[in-house]
Structure formats: structure tokens, C-alpha cells
Symmetry: C2
Subunit: 335 residues, 2 copies
Amino acid sequence: MGRGPTSKDVARLAGVSQSTVSYVMSGKRSISAETLRRVEEAMAALNYQPHAGARALAGSRTNTIAIVMPFASAYDAGQLMAFVEEFVLAARVHDYDVLLVTAEEGIEGLRRITGGRQCDAAVVMQVTAQDQRADLARTLDFPVIFIGVPEDTTGLACVDFDFEAAGRLLVEELADLGNTRLSVLGWGADSVGRDYNYIGRFARGVTGAAEAHRLPVDWHLAPAADGFAAVLDAGLHPDGGRTGIIMTAGLSGGMRALALRGLVPGRDADVVALCTEAEAEEQVVPLTAVSTQPRDVSRMVAERLFALIDAGCPAQEGVDIVPATLVRRASTGRA
Amino acid sequence: MGRGPTSKDVARLAGVSQSTVSYVMSGKRSISAETLRRVEEAMAALNYQPHAGARALAGSRTNTIAIVMPFASAYDAGQLMAFVEEFVLAARVHDYDVLLVTAEEGIEGLRRITGGRQCDAAVVMQVTAQDQRADLARTLDFPVIFIGVPEDTTGLACVDFDFEAAGRLLVEELADLGNTRLSVLGWGADSVGRDYNYIGRFARGVTGAAEAHRLPVDWHLAPAADGFAAVLDAGLHPDGGRTGIIMTAGLSGGMRALALRGLVPGRDADVVALCTEAEAEEQVVPLTAVSTQPRDVSRMVAERLFALIDAGCPAQEGVDIVPATLVRRASTGRA
DNA sequence: TTGTACGCGTTATCAG
DNA sequence: CTGATAACGCGTACAA
């Protein structure tokens, strides 16, 4: 494997000093039009590309951002991909590359990456309420952005989707449609709520809005959801009432449960979901839904991160929230 | 952002020379038990981690592998994620990290990554029949592994799933079940076939087996697939015959088309698919299917790549094929 | 078994 | 506006 041309080779060919070549690239001092031309020609002729390692060593910046990613996770793969793609694109705009680290490496992964100076910043996804990586980040003097909100956010930069508003929007939609009670299939109200706190925030949104509209709610945990099946079997609209359905986790299971009983969303019941746009649209009856917008989250993360990097700050405390919006489709009678 | 301890700091604390520290890490010369202990203690005490850039510069290896990934692609997101996860895990076993590059950067992306010595090898996914990146790789003297098979494979290392066998297996399954004709929803037989040659290979597998069993086949392109709808409307089993259905692309659309007409896979027709395991299992009626096994492909790629790296070869010509297997589920009467 | 000394290809400082 | 030159932190002959 050939060694490749160095800035010294470029300098020789252009008839200038090596440092001049460096300055041409960085633009940190003014260059005469003539030398500029000759250096650029030489670079093109040699197909020169600066050595990343040497650059990192001398300049102490890698132009790389690590993203710590949960693969086998509660998140949907499409969501993850969308997030990552958007992030990589944003990074490229700022001339940064992206290093992938699995969340499985846990806290050691973050330590390894930051300690070895392989990157200038890190993004940590799927943050839990009590996340060790949050504690590490506080001691690190290194820019880290968290996706998700740990319990203690002091000294941390976090970004997350507005799950509370999502819950509220879904309930209000069902209330507006005249439903008199709600059945939620997905994460449990409090059981799972302590691990990822977005579950709790979503539940709070649902509960708050349901109370405001005086709607009783019953929760069923996916994927077992025997209770949910029981609700369907008992009849969705007892006593002249009307049961609206909210789905979060276990969407495909829930849809199957409906289909097996000949229940059609939008006709036999109003069904809304918190899911991806793709999922909402690929159902037999497309779902009225609030979709977590991974690309919006990604853009917000990138914006904030590059602001940090440019400023040279380790981290800027604060939680950014990506707004939730509801899209109406055929699964609610209205559309 | 503090500079972090260097091997010199470790050396000073351990009372040895810097080179000794280096040799302790590389294991490239024998160290007395005593010095070994002291160096390791010093490293632990300082929480030392070698500077990746300095390492790359001095040792001319980055311990990083780039993976060129198509995000918004014909591939399913779950497939991509599974592939990447498996690859990252394999890489970590060999003490390598993974750099993510979007296929959108095209040929320049590959050039940039390899030229800048940001990685020791690259994996290029979603290779087309006439892929410019293949031509670049041949001139590069740099280990690259392609996923997918370009038309001209001389000098290239490729890995791919056995799409031809997949087509054959699906046809044979339908033939065994007594179907007398086949309807294929997905990629066109030849129209799209020139771009990604796996489409052609799949078509060849289908056609070959269909001819062997004397089954007529009609092809319908997703996502429009008006012809497919027409077949359904015309009745699947005319003249005492029996139409078996094969789905590749446009799976959800195809399933919806069946559902809208009250057709239940396994009851009203035998349906088989080439799709992911997840897709096969999350249908209302789980699908008998051949699943491209991204993790198998990933492992094969990793194995081959690290063999190359360890050997120091630029690339070892040859196409590796990951075998196809069919899993029976409820969508064919049998299961 | 260990230490010395040099080079890897940049960036950045200091002269000119 | 430009050219020498000293870091940057680690790998590795070469010497002892």
C-alpha cells in the first residue's frame, strides 16, 4: 500500500515551502493569488489528501464525531437509520466524519472513544433515567450530547422528542372524535417507566389530557397484551360509549389483534398511534399518528453539537425538545 | 479540554523509557515481569489511552474500517442495521472501530476516506452492476470488500447473498404445493435487472426453476403493480389451476392488495416471499420466506476483511456467496 | 531485557 | 506575504 503524497511533495512541486501548503488549506493567512494557484494545481496533480492522523496529532482535532448507538433496541430500525443518515449528512456539511460505537460497549465505549482522541465530540442515544454515561460525561470535559433525558440533567446537553405532547395530542384527537374511554396498548404506565423516562413522559401526557377530558383509560403492556385482547373481545363500545385506541409499542401485534376480529380501524373504532411515519402509512388502514421525527431530532443535535465544537465548550447545559405533531389518516373516521 | 496523559507520562511514572511503554502495548518484544507490572500500574493509575492520531501517524495503521452505506435505499432498514451491528461487533473483536460513510458521497467518498488514511480498509455496500467504485478500488492498492457483485469482478473481493438459490427455493416450494402458475410481485425480470445484478440473479433462479417445473410466470413491478391487482381480480385459480404468489419488493403493498380483496395467504393462495425474517413474521399471516441473512453476510465480510488486513494484501479476488434457506410459515397451506 | 534517537505528516510560532 | 523550525505522541531501528 503506497504511502501517498504528503504536503511536502505538494510544496516541492509548487515551488513553495511546506508550511505554505498548510496555510493554503487552512486559510489562516493570506496567500497571493499566484502561489494559491500553483499550490492548488500541485495538489490536484498529485491527488493530494492530508493525512488524517497527522492532522489530528498536530492540530488536536479529529474532525470526527462518535455516535453511540443502540442497535438491538426498543427503537425501530427505520428510526435509527433515519437519525443516523441525517446526522452523517449534517456532519459532512461541517466536514466531519462519523464513528460508530455500539451502546453494548456501555460506559467503557464512551471512555475509550473520548480518551483515545478519536473524535471531537460524541452523541449518546437511548439514554436511560439513571445513565452511567451521564455521570461519566460530567467529569469528562468533552462535548457530549445525549438523546433522551436522564433524571439528573445538571451539566448535560440533552435533546429529545416531546413525548408528553405526543400523549396529549393523541388523547385530544380521540376525545374530539367523541370517544368516551381509552384503551392504550404499549408501554406500561409506571412499570417500565423508570428505565427510559420518555415512557413516563408519554404516560403523563396521556393521563393529563385524559383527566382533563374525564376519559377513563386502561393500559395494556405489549407484547403479551392479553388485557388488550380481552377489551376487544368484550366489545369496544359498551353501554353506548365509544372506546378509542392508542398504540405505542407492539403496533403490529395490536393491528393483528384487530384484524383477526374483523375490526377495521376508522370504521369500527378510532385508532391512533405513536409510531414512525412509515409504520403509520404501511398499515392496511393508514394510521392517524404522532410520529417521532428522527430527522428533526438529528438536525437539532447536529446544530447544537457544532455550535459547541465551534465555541470550544465542553457542553452547554440544557434540554432541547423537538415538537410533536399529529397527522390524520384513515384510522380515525375523520380523514 | 485537557490534553490527557501520554506514553511519556506513563514512562516517567513507571520509571522506564517511553519506548518500553510502547513495547508493552504492542507486545513486540519481551518485557521483564517487574517492568511489565510497573508499566501496567502506571497506565491504570493515569487512565492512559494512546492517542489514536499519533498512533496512525507513527504506525501507519488506524485500526478503523470504513463502511460505505446506502441509507435511503432499496434495502430494508432492519437489514442494514443488522448488518452494521454485526459488523461493528466483529470489528471490535479485532480491536477495530467503524467509520460511517454515506453512499451518497459516491465515488468521492471512497476516494476521500482511503486517500486521507482514515481507515485501513473499506466495505462498500449495495454495489451496482457497473459500479464506478469498483473501478476505483482496482486502482487503489487498498483493501476493499464489496457487498453485491459488479459485472466485472476481476481483482475485486465480493460477498453476496445467494439470490439465485433464493428464487429457486421459492419456486420449488410453490411447485411442491401443487401450484400450476406463478405470479411474482416485485422487481421486474429484466427492466430493473441491469442496475443491481442481484435482481437478475433472483429472476434467473425463478425462471430456471419455473421452466424446470413447466410453470408459467408473470412478473409485476412494485410499487404500481396494476397487473398484480388485475391478476387478483381475475381470480387466482382459473381453469382448475392454482396460482402461487411470490413477493419481493413492495411486500406491504402486495399484502394490502390481498387483504383488501379478502384473500388470506395460506387459505386462498400460497404466498411466499423474499424478505427479512422480521417482515415475514410480523404479517397478519406470517410468511413462508427466504430471508437474506444480513448477519451471515456481515460475518463473512468481517472474516474475509480481517484476513486481508492481517495478511497485508490489498484484496483477494473472488466472490463469496452466503447460502439461502427457506423457512415455512402459515402463508403456505402446509405449516 | 532496556534505553536512545529519529521519523511519521501536520499545525502553528517566529522571523523575515 | 512567505520560509524555517519546533512541537504533537507514538512506533521502531539501533545500540547497549
